[in-house]
């Protein structure tokens, strides 16, 4: 994946969100399916920003790419499940880890799972994909030479 693909993903995500917002201006308000534009658009925007930020020399490195795909699938999937599954949050609600099913998918899926995965992925790939001692020394040397 390249910076160009990440940017394309970001523009596409913004377009999906724009469509959802435009539908809200229709007489009678947005149709229920308009929420899909924001759900997938938000997931795509965050995933694309991760890929864009993690790219070095125009290419996204493997762990960051996996993190970006993971965020898109997890956020898009959790919001999608909440939109697709039937509502059952009344007295007969089935609770998962103390919350009704759809709510548990959203709150634990988006609010907790990435927190356990992403920081570790970032830390474990940092030396190889983000900034090694050699990278830092090379940049500092180039800066000194530029100043001189």
């Amino acid at each position: 994946m390249t910076t160009r693909s990440a940017l394309a993903g970001l523009v596409l995500s913004c377009t999906a969100i724009s469509a959802a917002y435009l539908l809200a201006f229709l007489p009678g308000g947005a149709p229920p399916w308009a929420a899909w534009g924001l759900a997938l658009g938000s997931a795509g925007a965050l995933a694309s920003m991760i890929a864009l930020g993690a790219a070095r020399g125009g290419r996204v490195r493997p762990v960051a790419l996996a993190a970006s795909v993971f965020v898109f699938l997890l956020v898009g999937g959790a919001f999608g499940a909440a939109l697709l599954l039937p509502a059952n949050e009344g007295p007969s609600a089935v609770l998962v880890l103390g919350l009704p099913l759809r709510t548990a998918i959203v709150l634990y899926g988006i609010g907790v799972v990435p927190m356990l995965v992403l920081p570790l992925a970032y830390a474990l790939s940092f030396d190889r994909e983000t900034l090694s001692d050699d990278d830092l020394e090379r940049i500092r040397r180039a800066t000194r030479e530029g100043d001189a």
Binding site: C14, G90, P100, L118, P119, Y122, D133, I139, G146
Partner: protein, 502 residues
């Protein structure tokens, strides 16, 4: 506004010796840090970027402390009590945004700061696009948001101090300003960062402790859910009491907007060793998760207590936290929470005082091709002027102050996300795109929020001013950069390109 209705109605409940003692101890520690830091602040570099000598643990906890204002302890739980799960969408993306911020901003801001000796967020935008106009416009956006945020936080702090010490609201507001000003003006961001560290620890301790009492009082998450779902089938639905579009809109604004918060991005300059960034997402996410337990837990347990008939409905939603800690926790925990609320307000205000002063001392003069001599002295003077302006604004009618505080986050997002977060990662972006997007974000946010305030216009359900302004600012940035793409390469200095490729 922050709901101290309950506290003001029953001051004797609040003014227990243990609660006042803990709050007073908090002020003593903050004052001691201020004195310590003021002795170490000798230059503008010390004042604005803490001498670039901060460690990663301090940085992460200070960033968390300045991110989570008093809203996380008062307004947020109140919103959860009212809107249910929908209110959680404001903080839901925090599980992603801290790591995303590390990938998108942290390394590049830190390396660019070192290569160019930068001190402010508008500095980075100016250097990226070689554009004094972009630097100046972003400084104006920051200034507008900062004064509103400061006024709102001074009012909230004044209400807390009045409720606890019986000072009267006006004196409470002035006292909050004087305490925060005293350490920010003398010790600059060095004092700010170390008081943020202390305040962050207080907030985290308060949140974790309260959550334990929430768990016990509600019978665990299942007990809370059963009590609520028995009487209300939508409160604990995936979007709570909000339409799906509104909840998702919050997720978009707060998810993407996290990349445009200058009081967080600015702190990346201060890190002593950029290799320590490796641990930033882990520390920041962990600290934030613990501190947000109170935000989510208190609103839910109070709703469960009301649903189960154990408590009458709250007169005001913002009373959720004071009512819970006074009714269900010992006095020492209540004292810790009230100290945490003061900490939340002060840690946010001191960061804004500093970046506001930097905009006036450093960024705006540079936008006009001038440099201020003795930036340290001017930085202190502008800190004083901004604080006085914010305190005077804080004494305006409450709804107007709330209005000033509302659009801060959205204004930062709409003006800074495209030019800063995308600009530092896309070599095809142009200065024309940056200037156009900042102007779009500034104009739309101020214009639409003002029209909405005067009820001259209302957006349809599910569309917020901050969401619309951020979206249009992004689209303008892409469109104008694409239209002027032939100029992109010539607007990028070699050292900036090297940092962007790193």
């Amino acid at each position: 506004m922050t709901g101290w209705h309950l506290l003001q109605a029953a001051p004797a409940v609040v003014r227990q010796p243990v609660i006042i003692g803990i709050a007073a101890l908090y002020f003593v520690v903050v004052a001691a840090i201020g004195v310590w830091a003021s002795r170490r602040t000798r230059s503008a570099r010390d004042f604005f970027v803490a001498g670039k000598g901060i460690g990663i643990v301090t940085l992460a906890i200070a960033a968390m402390a300045s991110t989570l204002s008093g809203f996380a302890f008062i307004g947020g739980p109140g919103l959860v009590y009212t809107a249910g799960t929908g209110a959680v969408f404001i903080v839901l993306s925090a599980s992603i945004t801290n790591t995303m911020g590390a990938w998108v901003l942290a390394k590049r801001m830190r390396l660019l700061g070192e290569a160019r000796g930068l001190m402010t967020v508008p500095d980075a935008i100016g250097a990226r696009f070689r554009s004094p106009a972009a630097q100046g416009l972003s400084a104006v956006a920051i200034l507008v948001a900062v004064v509103g945020y400061m006024a709102t936080n001074f009012l909230a702090l004044g209400l807390v101090i009045d409720a606890m010490f019986g000072t009267g609201l006006t004196f409470g507001i002035w006292l909050a300003m004087l305490v925060t000003l005293s350490y920010t003006m003398t010790g600059g961001i060095l004092a700010g960062v170390y008081t943020d560290l202390f305040e962050g620890l207080v907030k985290t301790a308060a949140s974790v402790t309260v959550f334990w009492f929430v768990w016990r009082a509600g019978g665990g998450m299942e007990g809370i859910s059963r009590a609520i779902t028995a009487v209300d089938a939508t409160f604990l639905g995936p979007w709570g009491k909000m339409p799906a579009l509104s909840a998702l809109s919050l997720f978009f604004v707060f998810g993407m907007g996290a990349l445009g918060q200058p009081h967080v991005a600015h702190k990346f300059y201060m890190l002593r060793n950029p290799r320590q960034l490796k641990w930033y997402p882990l520390l920041m996410s962990g600290a934030m998760a613990l501190t947000l337990l109170l935000y989510v837990g208190v609103g839910l347990v109070m709703r469960a207590k009301v649903a189960g008939g154990a408590l009458p409905p709250l007169v005001r939603a913002d009373d959720a936290t004071p009512a819970f800690v006074l009714g269900f926790t010992p006095g020492a925990v209540a004292g810790l929470v009230f100290a945490g609320v003061i900490a939340a307000g002060m840690s946010t205000v001191n960061s804004f005082m500093n970046i506001g002063a930097a905009a006036l001392t450093h960024d705006l003069p540079r936008a006009f091709g001038r440099r201020v001599g003795e930036e340290l002295r001017w930085g202190r003077a502008w800190t004083l002027v901004l604080s006085l302006a914010a305190v005077l604004l804080a004494q305006l009618p409450g709804t107007l102050v709330a209005f000033l505080g509302i659009f801060g986050y959205g204004l930062f997002a709409a003006t800074l996300v495209p030019s800063l977060a995308i600009g530092l990662n896309w070599q095809g972006a142009t200065r024309e795109g940056a200037v156009a997007s900042i102007a779009t974000g500034l104009t739309l946010t101020l214009g639409l929020e003002t029209l909405a305030f005067f009820k001259a216009f209302a957006l349809p359900t599910g569309v917020t001013v901050s969401g619309l302004a951020l979206l249009l600012s992004l689209l303008v940035f892409f469109a104008v950069s694409w239209a002027t793409r032939a100029r992109a390469a010539s607007q990028l200095d070699a050292d900036v390109r090297m940092v962007m490729d790193a």
